[in-house]
Symmetry: D2
Subunit: 407 residues, 4 copies
Amino acid sequence: MSANIVVEKLRFVPVEEQNVELVERKGLGHPDYIADAVAEASSIALSKYYLKKYGIILHHNLDKVLLVGGQSAPRFGGGEVLHPMYIVVAGRGTEVVINEGNSLEYVPIGTLIIGATKNWIKKNFRFLDPEKHVVIDYKIRSGSADLVQTYRLGLKSVPLSNDTSFGVSYAPLSTLEKLVYSVERYLNDGNVKKSLPEVGEDVKVMGLRIGNKIKLTIAAALISGLIPDLSHYLSVKEEIVNRVTDLTAKVAVGYDVDVYVNTADKPEKNVVYLSVTGTSAEHGDDGATGRGNRVNGLITPLRPMSLEATAGKNPVSHVGKLYNVLARYICDKVVNEIPKVREVYMEILSQIGRPIDEPLMAVVKLVVDEDSNFQSVKSDVEGLIRSELSNVTRLTELIVNEQISIF
Amino acid sequence: MSANIVVEKLRFVPVEEQNVELVERKGLGHPDYIADAVAEASSIALSKYYLKKYGIILHHNLDKVLLVGGQSAPRFGGGEVLHPMYIVVAGRGTEVVINEGNSLEYVPIGTLIIGATKNWIKKNFRFLDPEKHVVIDYKIRSGSADLVQTYRLGLKSVPLSNDTSFGVSYAPLSTLEKLVYSVERYLNDGNVKKSLPEVGEDVKVMGLRIGNKIKLTIAAALISGLIPDLSHYLSVKEEIVNRVTDLTAKVAVGYDVDVYVNTADKPEKNVVYLSVTGTSAEHGDDGATGRGNRVNGLITPLRPMSLEATAGKNPVSHVGKLYNVLARYICDKVVNEIPKVREVYMEILSQIGRPIDEPLMAVVKLVVDEDSNFQSVKSDVEGLIRSELSNVTRLTELIVNEQISIF
Amino acid sequence: MSANIVVEKLRFVPVEEQNVELVERKGLGHPDYIADAVAEASSIALSKYYLKKYGIILHHNLDKVLLVGGQSAPRFGGGEVLHPMYIVVAGRGTEVVINEGNSLEYVPIGTLIIGATKNWIKKNFRFLDPEKHVVIDYKIRSGSADLVQTYRLGLKSVPLSNDTSFGVSYAPLSTLEKLVYSVERYLNDGNVKKSLPEVGEDVKVMGLRIGNKIKLTIAAALISGLIPDLSHYLSVKEEIVNRVTDLTAKVAVGYDVDVYVNTADKPEKNVVYLSVTGTSAEHGDDGATGRGNRVNGLITPLRPMSLEATAGKNPVSHVGKLYNVLARYICDKVVNEIPKVREVYMEILSQIGRPIDEPLMAVVKLVVDEDSNFQSVKSDVEGLIRSELSNVTRLTELIVNEQISIF
Amino acid sequence: MSANIVVEKLRFVPVEEQNVELVERKGLGHPDYIADAVAEASSIALSKYYLKKYGIILHHNLDKVLLVGGQSAPRFGGGEVLHPMYIVVAGRGTEVVINEGNSLEYVPIGTLIIGATKNWIKKNFRFLDPEKHVVIDYKIRSGSADLVQTYRLGLKSVPLSNDTSFGVSYAPLSTLEKLVYSVERYLNDGNVKKSLPEVGEDVKVMGLRIGNKIKLTIAAALISGLIPDLSHYLSVKEEIVNRVTDLTAKVAVGYDVDVYVNTADKPEKNVVYLSVTGTSAEHGDDGATGRGNRVNGLITPLRPMSLEATAGKNPVSHVGKLYNVLARYICDKVVNEIPKVREVYMEILSQIGRPIDEPLMAVVKLVVDEDSNFQSVKSDVEGLIRSELSNVTRLTELIVNEQISIF
């Protein structure tokens, strides 16, 4: 098995030292984020139901959620949703379970998906009401699982890969990556929402670094009902700039950062970025699962990325999900626990039908300190990978219990 | 105008004296009733919004609601909804209003329809949760109204018929008709629901009278969560029979009434009529607007009936609604206020484009006591009709304020 | 069994001799007609598939079709469909068949329904292209049938009623009824379509008779692509009036008939009734199964009518379909074959679970010639009914082979 | 403007010389490819309509297509589609055009989208019939364009970016990339389809290179109707291996290539990869726009990639599309036309509101031959970029006329 692990030295200028860097994060209320979150919340709800009732997570894949934007009429001090947005959860699920004695049990798959979607919205938005502003439908083709046979085959054994696919990740985050991530998390932080409630949940942050100059472009849907007039709007924008500037002083020490907010505004023509509910999905912006952040919460076009959606896939056998999460997990551990490693890149490749703890190939590329002993580092990394691979099923639990963020 | 009113004597054995009578009522929780109620609740919500904002009810027609039944797994003492039912409200509405100075105002037509539907369900069901058990969507093609022009044309004037159509009704109800209606109303009465909570909202009553023998067949979806076992189920059925028998003793004096409940049950095979939510729509029964009760709340195949759905149409210019309501209203008044009239049948025919208080033709057929002076009765009836026609727009208010039941 | 047949004399002025009569027919291209036809075509396609593959028609009920009108922009000499109409076929069907040895066979229910719908449109319209102008979807909850068990229970035996329901009909048609029916059939006749191709398939005929004066109001969607200008439009309308007037001279001898076509036109404002495809469903008019013609092809508010949709239900056990068809069939036979009968009305009532050839009650009311021997007529009628009841399963074949029209 | 162009040397081991490489291509019939193709075909149809009618491409964005897999029952020698797949095209489009004199013109947006989708399927599949096997719907929120104002603003000027976004690409393709691409193109080539018709359109190729050893894993849905039995199936697989091996001998000279086809097959259990129509979308596999190939037709996790979908966006102002296409175009030119350049990577960043020929930043990183004069190369590259940027609007034409492939 160890033959499948390749650890090699990467001759590469660390990202931080390259001249140009581009990073983006689609925040909590962005239509693509919502589509990811709904897919994942639905998968978790199914997983928990299966676990509770049958002790195992049965097959499902809900990684195709489409959000069709609604229509709204925000105005200073108020506004209305004219047409709710429309969310359809598409995919597969196990709906019928064949118990001993050929008796059938039905899984309330529709009720679970709709409930999970509404709950996620309720927990994460203050002004988007899932009962008023969203139509939620689903198109799930369902299959059946023969539980008796499943148990006979040995539940406790390691699941088999359901696809030939790969996961990729890297560590650590660059300063710009940390900054972009932090800015969105800050603006959607519970306390910040209390002191600056006008900022809607739909916050998108784009960061460009050229040398040590950073341009942060923030698009933030402001809540129309909390903003009585243009001057209030402008003061909120100013406050965002100030706060983000303060934050960058901590996160991006030594960089020269310019912060731009809602650059498409033309205040003189009353063109500003208002929303009734806090998301641009209320008026025409559509979203889809797998079109937003990668497993580390970022879009990093100049870094290796997988195109597999991590959201919505089952966390047991779907390597398009598991191996991305695993790669990220291992990379973090490598840079945190193994000295002399400056950057690590990892790819894990599955082959359909192989046990998931035996990937076809795991490749790690390291940028190490010049004074390091590569053979020693390599050996440590291999050990760590072997250990994590043998523990891979533990990730399933972390995912289902939402102890790990995946977009 | 009076030339359009025809009053004639009907040589006809009154229904009560005929040998065979057939009457049906689809109760509150029947899928067709739900489809009617959702259509009407949506129309009322739009009407109220238009009235409040613009002083008039703008054009709409929402009389095509489809309810696709869900899937459920009731069992003694509990059960679950597996797949929510699906309701789609189809039709037309005025979504854009052109104000003075060509400024546009948008009507939150989607939010209104979905809100009205959910509210109706919440108010009328105890165990059907619109947030968990129903997916509500809509397909409304929207038009615009030029308010300026509308006002110029004179809002206060009488609206014009939007179609060539007719309304029909009759009075009084026969004993069987009263009985069928009362039985459903009784079983869905608030107090009865307290003392006999196991009876779901989906109650369908079919009455057959041959001579003075009546067979009442009641289909009532019982609430699975409140019924721990078969013997409890059977005792509830018995209680329904007893109570309905008591009721018939008051409503159908002199008739010999047999009461049957859930006749398709086969208790020995555990085949009984249970539901999680109180409606058969939870498991496979579909519904559509206009397929259930007529304007008097009954299906009476041996009496004149209009096929126009009263539910969902706008209550201003849609004669398919207004003339049915009007015919019923006038018939009730005729038998209540004009002596010697035993039965009255009425048809009112519109012509597209005519003011609604000037129908193309209003025909009244009377069964009068033998000792009556027909000319005198006729003259009274004509007077009453003229008076009601000139007041026809008042019906709009009664409908919008739900002071009149129409299915 | 004969105890369930009641034949009685109706003391009733024959409809023809009453003063006022109202009759309507929604023609081939009317949205409600399309909804009926799509439901029935789908049921027939399933029935034929089941018959061919399994020798019996398995359970299904497709009597809830919703047609949401599209959007179009007709103009003299051309025009376009902007948005296709949307048809959704809702209901139940048997999708899985369990064969001997517990092997499963799947029924291509989706492909059959969509194919049948498109074929019906192709066969019946010249300008409505199912591939371009219609979106066809379906929402069918499917069940399974255990064929082995079905055969064991005895296929050849008479099916059991699936509901407590009734069928009603009457014969003969009055002159006005014949006229309304004939006019629509004439305008949609293949040869007439050749000589007067401008007339679209959506023809609605409303007839009002007062004494011997008849007003026929025809709404006919004219094909925009075939009508270069207003004067051509007006000449087509004139031609319709002329031809229909000729027809009435044959069908309604002795009546004074006025013919009106497209009365809402305001030619001076260019408001005329044009359509690109031949149906008003192309622009905003919605349709639903069961909202149009009754089993005899007519809407007759002053005659007994059933509210059951005949279209789309399975023709084996669904009495809401079979008993309407049967009642009509028997009524026709009675007036054709039994002398001295002037009018016949019939109701047939089922009880869920009874064999369909043993209705709970069959009531026949006769208007007979004054010189007739009622006992003899009654006896003949009873004999005919008994004979037809014992042959009721034959209707299934007539329906599936489309040898009988039912709306 | 030249200040925005950065050209720098990349200190980087060329991909070809790195130890591990991973490349994937989702072929013509893959569900994600279909979703991309439907989005793009719809955008092109709209663009051509707008161009023909108004001389410009009006605003639209159709980059959210969801394909929900159908259900089928393939078997050796035949099989059936049980449930058609479902495609919904979501997005925005300009539906109303305001002409001089405030007259309105409507765009047949629905008919265009459905027509384009069906045409694409017809042209690209032999056994997938868009009329039988696919339900096509759309959810487009539409806006209006004031043509008069548009012209006044100056149509001929350069469009403004509609978003802050970026495009990335690189050149040349590595040997593995060329191979993966070629294999799919070969198997979907018209002539190959004639000599090896059993190979369906859904071909997915995954390539892994370790040193000079390549593993090609091909998933190919074989056409059930053309394969009478298992031995024929196995011989087709063998033929694919042979032919692809021949192809690799030409494309990947000097590499040691292993070819695997349908590795999940278990012939001994009759588990093989058959399809009725040629795509896995017929049975449960879903697809979505933007989840498949990048602008160069490949998924290259170890190369820079943009997450923007190129398909479906308007080709005039949507930089998420244009800048990806442009980056690829420029990279190809650089390696083809400028000597001494071994590899080129490019990022182009827009800022909302800037003319599209003036990106905020264009970064080019070069791997050059050791003996090259970098200043001279750099100057040539800058010149080429400037020239291409000033010609950027020409790409619009190439895209609309399908002279350039973008996924």
